[in-house]
Symmetry: C2
Subunit: 399 residues, 2 copies
């Protein structure tokens, strides 16, 4: 049917084994998974359907569309999804009576949940989303290779920046040139997010006051956007000399997202902003020192926040005033908002294999946003950066 690269069968086997182990530990008879990314992660295909994973034995992927493509792409058993009434019988025949069932309560819409729960008339429902997200947070060597490939591509863009930025070009023009370069290499432009109502496509390229405009997006910099109904990222604002230009770009390789931020300026940046950028670099260096297996997620956030406060920049950290984001880093992988979350309230430990984008940033409402972001792999020896673009502010000379 096609020659696209496949997710190695061994990945699928190992992932299912780990998840089944989790089901057993939580005394669940099985889980019905429905979200496209969870399904891809556990099957190797993104076709549309529902995946039943029993706590032991073989899973079955019930496919709506395309059955043919799903059967070609996954090594698991594939069956056509049947009418709701019949599904209850099929599942009972295959897996017996389910008393304790896992569902992804964070993403599964209420209406669908009610329909699927009728397939398991005797089941109590337990939310398995966090368990599965925790498993997905720890990356395999295969997954890390995709992220490394993505990191190379965003580095190439950073190298090209001095050749494409021009005074008075709009943010959209700059963003479109960057997007084009990544797109022809295979970027999808879609940075999948799990959070309800969160969305990010293309890039977050923004300058001056536009970058500092507060927005719904759960991140340190939103951006003005092209309209009130798309209130984030690049806008029609021209890029002027002296403004901090935030180049927060991602690209996707085999579904895996890398996240990196660098700064550029036409001419010179105001000294206050240079100081803040240096502080962001100090914070990210400190994160690199502290980020070791066993350290809790919130510890990193608390350290970063303390440093920002000591530098007199607390009000500017990760957004301004009431519009601050309350984290300093987030997991990345098949989704942009994966675990771990480096934020208060998360006392879980870092584990070897976790991948985290760490992004200390400072917002100055009328001037813009400065900061840095790298994507790190947690190793036995601490954090290892997957992104490797030069961290100096990119200075574009102006006449």
């Amino acid at each position: 049917m096609h020659n696209l690269a496949r997710l190695p069968e061994k990945e699928v086997e190992e992932r299912i084994a780990i998840f089944q182990n989790t089901l057993q530990k939580n005394a669940l008879d099985g889980a019905l998974l429905t979200q496209n990314i969870d399904i891809y992660y556990l099957t190797g295909t993104l076709q549309n359907g529902v995946l039943f994973i029993p706590c032991t034995g073989a899973p079955c992927f019930f496919v709506r569309k395309s059955v043919k493509r799903a059967a070609f792409e996954t090594s698991l058993e594939v069956q056509p999804l049947q009418k709701s009434k019949r599904m209850a019988e099929v599942l009972k025949e295959k897996y017996g009576v389910i008393h304790h069932l896992g569902l992804e309560k964070d993403v599964l819409p209420m209406g669908l949940a009610e329909r699927y729960m009728k397939w398991f008339p005797q089941a109590k429902v337990v939310d398995v989303a966090f368990m599965l997200r925790l498993q997905r947070a720890v990356k395999s060597p295969y997954e890390i290779r995709q992220l490394q490939q993505a990191a190379k591509r965003v580095n190439e863009v950073v190298i090209s920046i001095p050749h494409i930025i021009q005074e008075n070009m709009t943010e959209l023009e700059l963003s479109a040139k960057i997007e084009y370069a990544l797109r022809v290499q295979g970027n999808t432009g879609l940075f999948r997010m799990r959070g309800y109502n969160q969305e990010l496509v293309l890039g977050m390229v923004s300058s001056g006051y536009a970058a500092a405009t507060p927005t719904y997006f759960d991140g340190p910099a939103g951006g003005l956007g092209v309209s009130i109904v798309n209130p984030q990222s690049a806008s029609m604002k021209p890029i002027k000399r002296g403004e901090p230009i935030l180049i927060d770009i991602s690209t996707v390789v085999e579904g895996y997202i890398i996240d990196q931020t660098r700064m550029a300026v036409l001419g010179e940046l105001d000294s206050e902003l240079v100081v803040a950028y240096e502080e962001a670099k100090k914070i990210i260096r400190e994160m690199e020192q502290c980020g070791k297996p066993g350290v809790s997620w919130q510890t990193l956030y608390q350290k970063a926040l303390a440093m920002a406060e000591k530098a007199g920049l607390k009000e500017h950290f990760m957004g301004f005033g009431d519009d601050q984001a309350k984290f300093v880093g987030h997991g990345v992988g098949l989704e942009l908002d994966e675990l771990p979350i480096l934020a208060n309230g998360f006392d879980q430990p870092l584990e070897v294999g976790m991948v985290i984008a760490i992004e200390p940033k400072f917002t100055f409402p009328d001037q813009g946003v400065v900061g840095i972001e790298n994507t790190y792999l947690v190793t036995e020896n601490g954090l290892e950066s997957l992104t490797f673009a030069n961290e100096d502010i990119i200075h574009i000379p102006v006449v």
Copy 2:
């Protein structure tokens, strides 16, 4: 804070009045709306929060982030969202005891629904998604103007096609050039979809067998995509002479999506495909004749299907074999998959002001997809096309 165009206050007032009327007719005390697009539609801001609309009286938008930007953008009352425990008290103080509550059961995740339902301990929940979607299907003159502007932009791209297609360029390269042209004019690249697990960004530019590859996407042409985890739209496949090139492109103006498909070919198309394309045009002409207020949605699908069958193309209509999409058109607006749905099972009538993308297409597994798509406004006199690009196959001479 910014100079982005606002949704006119009158739009918001009228939309809320219509929705409150629907709540009253359905004996609902109020609705708690949570999805970003529903919220934008009824408030004029896309900031993140929950909107309570009582069946009479003033709504209130409880905002998570950014309260400041939301208050700037909407004319409705804005309050900061409070902790869950406090929300129950705030809502009771403001709106009294709610016995019958509307929720968007098609999109609201189960976990959030359970949380919000605790705010209304005495309420029975009713799904209001279809009611609101039915209201949104009928567009105002303001909305139609945005769609008309978007139609101009996609026409400009069609005109430029002969200058940008080259033999052996990849689908991605062609797609990226089209995307660039639309992007610098303000396209967001995000074609929002309401359907669970449905997603579409950038464009659907695909050629030959790649366009005919079946996929999860609920449409007549999926496309090979760049990877198994992004299995739709443009791929790394080079475009060869004689292949049908499907240029199914959309752009967004003030959130409103236009949808249009045209065909191109390097050299000449196989005569079988030319015949199928002519049949697609005949079907769309028939749709234009039949599409009048009062005609049921399914009638149009049944007529199209009958014509495809009579032409001996039933197995190829809207996808091939088991992978056929079961509709011939869909509403467009702030989302790509709006009402009406021209499909069996929908006996609702077309109404003046509805906007529908109609897209008869034929799939030939080894050769590709041919077809046409226009976006129509339902007027008192029948369908009026908002898209106006020349419908001839774009022939690119090859040496």
